[in-house]
């Protein structure tokens, strides 16, 4: 009993350390971090998702920056003007630019579009 428990705890801690240190391809600029904080301060995730994680009242915004007909002006217009369900947030120009920089960075980190993944025979998926 004690040995099994101790082994599991040890493995868990080792795995946690591995997760914390996993290599990521990102290089983050200060405005991206600031944009991420604005995303959090306004609780955008209550309605929107990143990589399919978040509220479902609004669309997934992981790749909104690179979607056809969307991009920076589209993001800014929605944030400032709001929609039928979304309030207008009245951000400053600097805040808007940081938020756009964050969404650009998110877009470059990978794709959240499930159509772009390939299903393998063993049930795993390939993509990103």
């Amino acid at each position: 009993m004690k040995i099994v428990l101790a082994s599991l705890v040890f493995l868990f801690l080792m795995y946690s350390a591995f997760i914390y240190q996993q290599p990521v391809k990102e290089e983050t600029m200060p405005e991206v971090v600031r944009g991420k904080m604005i995303w959090q301060e306004k609780n955008c995730t209550a309605c929107h998702q990143l990589y399919g994680l978040g509220g479902f009242l609004g669309p997934d915004l992981t790749n909104v920056y690179s979607q056809e007909g969307k991009g920076a002006p589209y993001i800014k217009a929605f944030v400032q003007g709001g929609t039928a369900t979304m309030p207008a947030f009245n951000l400053s120009e600097d805040e808007l630019n940081c938020l756009v920089a964050f969404l650009k960075h998110t877009d470059e980190s990978g794709s959240a579009d499930p159509r772009k993944f390939k299903i393998r025979h063993d049930g795993t998926i390939a993509g990103n």
């Binding site: 868990f12 990102e26 991206v32 959090q40 609780n43 209550a46 369900t85 979304m86 959240a112």
Partner: protein, 457 residues
């Protein structure tokens, strides 16, 4: 006039009563949130969705945390004859009370933590953590020894200690190393949240096993090798089976594969539930007259249904279709309401029974509430699953209509889920009202002292 008996409600029961209030409050916020799906823009200026959602989530999370910790302390005290410290329990209650009020107020004022799922301004995590630390100290002090303990005691200890570590882990995002990488941040966030739910489950399921032992008066199942084997399997899942939340995230494939592999071990639990089905039914007939047992049975059915859904969703190929849809919401709601809330209602009815007087007189009313709650939950989850399937079809379509149009097409399902939610809320009110009324009777019912027997442990 007869004198009222000296009443001094113990902190553990105050914790549970606060939890019940939060359950109803959380459900009420949930209804307001669901209305925003049905009538887009409703309450936009007063309580827009970015406020309603955390109000709903945090209220419900605190219902689980408070009811679970109050129940565990009561049961641990019941086993060892005495709670280690009533004062610690009281301070824990006050810390949680302060945290809940401050957190809900911060949402109203538009101050958020902005994290997905359970979020609030980081400073308020301190009283929550401290409250949990006091709970853990009180639990360890009450249990006294780790030797020869049944499985539920190990589950309680795992849940209590695990939460302290995992709750701290969920705040690693405040360090620049984690903050500056969205992929690392999201990975650690979902690692911690996945395991955090596992910690609550340890407390809730552990209390369910203890309650079953109390009802059946059979101490052997909770001390059997099989019980401990299942405990270790659940612990392994708690620690390593969380990556199904982030299959689409650009992380190392090995992390996804480990989660996938571990999650398939749940098939064993599913197989065991099916194998034990016949004996479970026989057992149910024996104890069905007992109110808490009826909640345990309801939870059993939802465990079965949710486990099937959870296993399916853990297969990456299936997850690709369900992720980011209301199927995920159905799974979360099924687990929170069908399993956790039913088990906690079993615990709560057991703990609050005989507070001044027996709950026996309310048995019929509570059972009616229980049946209505389960029927409406079935409709509620069905509507969410249907909405999820429709959204999934949209997500995978090469000819997508605009997002707003897709959401508009889902409104009939949202109406159904909203209506089922209102009935569910009503059913829980019917169940909770007698419990609160029974405690209230300690203060208001004027009877000769000999007939009022306060049962404060």
């Amino acid at each position: 006039m007869e004198q009222l008996p000296e009443t001094n409600l113990p902190a553990t029961k105050k914790i549970i009563l606060t939890a019940l209030a939060l359950l109803l409050l959380g459900m009420f916020f949930g209804i307001l949130g669901s209305l925003q799906y049905v009538v887009p823009g409703i309450l936009k200026t007063q309580l827009s969705f970015e406020k309603i959602r955390p109000l709903h989530v945090s209220s419900v999370v605190f219902w689980i945390m408070l009811a679970a910790s109050g129940g565990v302390l009561t049961y641990a005290g019941e086993r060892s004859g005495k709670l280690f410290s009533r004062l610690l329990a009281k301070i824990q209650w006050l810390l949680f009370l302060f945290s809940v009020v401050a957190i809900l107020t911060s949402y109203m004022l538009g101050i958020f933590g902005g994290r997905e799922y359970w979020e609030f301004p980081p400073l308020l995590a301190i009283p929550v953590w401290l409250g949990w630390l006091l709970f853990t100290i009180n639990l360890v002090g009450t249990i006294r020894t780790f030797k020869q303990q049944p499985v539920y005691v190990w589950m309680w200890l795992t849940g209590a200690f695990g939460f302290l570590f995992i709750f701290s882990e969920s705040y690693l995002w405040m360090l620049p190393f984690f903050q500056k990488s969205i992929v690392r941040d999201m990975t650690v966030q979902w690692k911690s949240y996945g395991s955090m739910v596992g910690c609550w489950n340890m407390l809730v399921y552990g209390s369910g096993i203890y309650l079953m032992e109390k009802i059946s008066k059979d101490p052997t199942p909770a001390r059997s090798r099989m019980a401990f084997a299942l405990y270790f399997l659940s612990l392994t899942n708690l620690m390593f089976n969380w990556s199904h939340h982030i299959y689409t995230l650009p992380i190392l494939p090995a992390i996804k594969h480990i989660g996938y592999l571990i999650s398939m071990s749940e098939l064993y639990i599913l197989g065991r539930i099916i194998y034990k089905w016949k004996s479970s039914v026989k057992e149910a007939r024996k104890f069905e007259y007992q109110l808490p047992y009826r909640f345990l049975i309801a939870a059993d059915v939802w465990v079965f249904l949710n486990l099937i859904l959870a296993i399916l969703m853990s297969i990456p190929a299936v997850n690709l279709y369900t992720h980011g849809t209301h199927i995920t919401v159905a799974h979360v709601m099924g687990t929170t309401i069908g399993i956790n809330s039913m088990l906690l209602m079993a615990v709560v009815t057991d703990v609050l029974d005989n507070t001044c007087r027996s709950l026996y007189i309310y048995q019929k009313k509570i059972t009616q509430g229980l049946v209505t709650a389960n029927l409406s939950l079935f409709v509620f989850l069905g509507a969410l699953l249907m909405a999820g399937i429709k959204r999934s079809q949209w997500q995978m379509s090469d000819h997508r209509v605009p997002f707003g149009e897709m959401m508009h097409n889902l409104i009939p399902y949202f109406i159904l889920f909203s209506m089922a939610g209102i009935v569910l809320f009503g059913a829980f009110c019917v169940m909770v009202y007698p419990l609160v009324k029974n405690v209230w009777a300690c203060y208001t019912v004027r009877q000769p002292q000999s007939t009022v027997t306060p049962s404060f442990n």
